[in-house]
């Protein structure tokens, strides 16, 4: 192969990887990062998928608990205009959180026991978490 053709092939290869993924070693991913805790005796678990264990993404939270969370993705780290939506706000409500200088933060509010799903979407990726709101 001529040197000029090899350079073009390598450059196209990098360009192709860049179009699909910021990190060529992993797929695009978005996650919920919690930064408060449940009160004593209550649960507030946000679990991410880990295929090596294996473990699926899920949320388990005790009714009555509020939890502050932010979006994290492996494209921008701080998600750009993330959307976090509960399929059943009467079971688990999502409220925007207001802190100076911070974006992409939400309060999860567990209203009553039951099951629903939570979908997190950023410009990077989308993920749906099964949610279980458990009785105290």
């Amino acid at each position: 192969m001529r040197p000029s053709l090899a350079i073009v092939v390598v450059a196209l290869g990098f360009a192709g990887l860049g179009a699909n993924d910021c990190d060529p070693q992993s797929t695009d991913d978005v996650s919920i990062y919690t930064f408060t805790a449940a009160p004593l005796g209550a649960s507030a678990l946000v679990q991410e998928r880990d295929p090596t264990i294996p473990r699926e993404a899920r949320v388990q939270i005790t009714a009555g608990v509020a939890l502050a969370v932010r979006c994290w993705d492996n494209c921008d780290y701080t998600c750009v205009e993330p959307r976090l939506v509960s399929a059943d706000p009467s079971t688990l409500a999502v409220r925007p959180l207001l802190r100076p200088g911070m974006t992409g933060e939400f309060a999860l509010v567990a209203v009553k026991s039951g099951s629903t799903t939570l979908t997190l979407e950023s410009d990077c990726a989308t993920k749906t978490y099964p949610v279980e709101v458990i009785a105290p």
Partner: protein, 232 residues
């Protein structure tokens, strides 16, 4: 366990009926029990801040709220660089906590987050509050400058002219519970009189004439009697 719950339920029904009669008889409805001064006396004086420390309550919440009681909230906005915005209150579980204006009502046993929001419903901060069912009313004595002295003895001896400053506070398993509530009181005998102090929740018990009197207080489905003997 179920038997005990039924027994307690029957006792509460009985007390509720007695309470209605006493209320009609002595006309004391509307007086308050609970920590004096809305919790500013005899309790935690440090403010209670939310999980994000952006909004605090002026009065500390260092214990569960008593079921059936309520607490007047004084909200302290603490976002550095911002003057206080208008803060609205909301709750996670309306079966546990209720909001009536600026008053937090303990409506059911359990735990619920109390949310502090801005005018657009965005959450500024939150605080988890527990509601517990009281199992005892205690009569606590305070000094004139508001120091908690401790529970009064079941039988107290006074001299004519003596005065004791007391409050009536709910407990559960030796833990004091917070909140104010409607208190009924009744005095049998002419030896003492009991009048509300200028600070809500405090009562002045004054020995007037020699003799034995019994003070009965009722609140939150519970009752407590207190015997006072006045010597000449």
């Amino acid at each position: 366990m179920i038997g005990r719950a039924r027994h307690r339920s029957r006792r509460r029904l009985g007390l509720a009926a007695a309470l209605a009669v006493a209320s009609a008889a002595c006309g004391d409805a509307g007086e308050v029990g609970g920590r004096p001064g809305g919790g500013t006396i005899g309790g935690q004086t440090e403010p209670e801040c939310g999980a994000l420390k952006q909004v605090c309550l002026a009065v500390g919440i260092d214990a569960p709220l008593a079921l059936g009681g309520g607490m007047e909230l004084i909200v302290d906005f603490r976002i550095a660089g911002s003057a206080g915005d208008s803060v609205a209150l909301d709750v996670a579980d309306p079966e546990v906590l209720g909001i009536d204006g600026t008053r937090l009502e303990a409506d059911g046993p359990g735990m619920s987050a109390l949310l502090f929001t801005d005018s657009q419903g965005r959450v500024l901060d939150f605080l988890h509050v527990t509601v517990a069912t009281p199992d005892e009313l205690r009569i606590l004595a305070y000094s004139r400058n508001g120091d908690l002295l401790g529970p009064v003895l079941d039988h107290v001896t006074l001299l004519v002219g003596d005065e004791v400053l007391v409050s009536v506070e709910p407990y559960r398993a030796a833990q004091p519970l917070l909140g104010s509530f409607t208190l009924q009181r009744e005095i049998e005998g002419a030896g003492v009189t009991m009048i509300p102090d200028a600070v809500g929740g405090l009562y002045r018990v004054i020995a007037r004439t020699p003799g034995t009197s019994t003070v009965t207080v009722r609140a939150l489905g519970l009752e407590r009697t207190w015997t006072l003997e006045v010597l000449p």
